[in-house]
Point group: C2
Chain length 266, copies 2
Amino acid sequence: MSTRSSKRQKTGDDQPYELIYWPTLPGRGEHIRLAFEASGTPYSDISNESKEGINVVLEQISDKNLGDDNGPPPLAPPILRHGSNVLISQTPNILLYLGPKLGLTPDTDNDPVGAYHVNALTLTALDGLSNEAHDTHHPIATGDYYEDQKPEALKKARDYRTNRLPKFLGYFQRVLEGPASKGGEYLYGGQLTYADLVLFQTVDGVIFAFPKCLAALRSSGKFDKVFAHYERVKAHEKIKAYLESDRRMKYGNGIYRHYPELDEED
Amino acid sequence: MSTRSSKRQKTGDDQPYELIYWPTLPGRGEHIRLAFEASGTPYSDISNESKEGINVVLEQISDKNLGDDNGPPPLAPPILRHGSNVLISQTPNILLYLGPKLGLTPDTDNDPVGAYHVNALTLTALDGLSNEAHDTHHPIATGDYYEDQKPEALKKARDYRTNRLPKFLGYFQRVLEGPASKGGEYLYGGQLTYADLVLFQTVDGVIFAFPKCLAALRSSGKFDKVFAHYERVKAHEKIKAYLESDRRMKYGNGIYRHYPELDEED
């Protein structure tokens, strides 16, 4: 057996991809689904495919799970299983793993630093447009109800709408204006990468959560390249088909929530 | 010129490492410093080496910076420059880049998935023991003073001490108990990786910020492996020398702050 085929087997390249995530909501699992969908890669979304699927999530995140010889236990989903030896967690980490396999990162031979740029853009979009968006409705305690931290949420959401959202949209506008985007159609290198999918999904999430605010930011004209990018990814043939399918789930009580009061000007 | 040497030149392997970060505080730059120090790698910490160094930080994060042909602009420091073609940002991304170069990730040939486990552990430590620790004193608005969000900070810190800190320490205890740690001395694979440096630094930070709480958690005996790991990394020959040097800066008004009221039981 050649080293090459031995490595392929070890990393599970010929094995099925299984997404281990909560059922019925897009959540952080959506970034992984979009990578599979955009590249036309078959995958199994186990907790949405059978009622028993959620048990796999619960076993993985159980306090009793110590992992195995191949890897540590995950703290939380999304988790990716690929063959018998690969089980990894953390959204940007799973995307980093999938990127080259799914053709969603720049070619390493031509651009050895490209994957790091795509990773940085991904981490930045998740920081500002996913994690911070979540914290607007849970500023005090993730484990408590929104209703129990509503006065604080009103303050946090105001800061988010006024300062943080424009800051992050302005950053991605600059990225798309910059020469490394190679024309501004995509974030990096003139081609679709998983960072584009993450930016699409996070912008879609904040549009759902803060529709009035995003409409105002859109009409300001300051972020035209970001909204054009959003529409471009949305119109991508495979993404469009996915968004129109019943595999695309509705937002609900996940990361992105639409509480009208958090979207209101004072 | 062989492909190999051509690639080496492209990725700047023979070039000096420059850390671009705020002066006078450990901050997120400390994870990068620890990687250089633990591996005995020379580096330049530019804003701590000259008064003019901070201008490089300010130019990089200026709203006018669009990046260049080689990469997008960074949103925020830490930023790593390595030769003329490599300029990357985001703490876990910089560590991902440095890991194999500094010998702080598992060998790819023997363990092709190891780097992803180290990345996931790093992301998890930064989530729960750095980002969330920061948010205890800035739960509402990063741009406002702590004094302007103190009632909310008291609530957030209580949740952090009671729920989040034990959750994350318990997670790393399980990682160190698990078979993939290969004995529990280090997080993964029985050898020092940059994830160990990140766990050390984040535990050190929360000990500074919440000394009473951490003393109580330590004496509970539930996280013995985490605290033994902390002491082990602290005693590592090169890390010990660094911590005793004047290059190790004191905590102040950065991510980790000691406000006694945030460390008090109700």
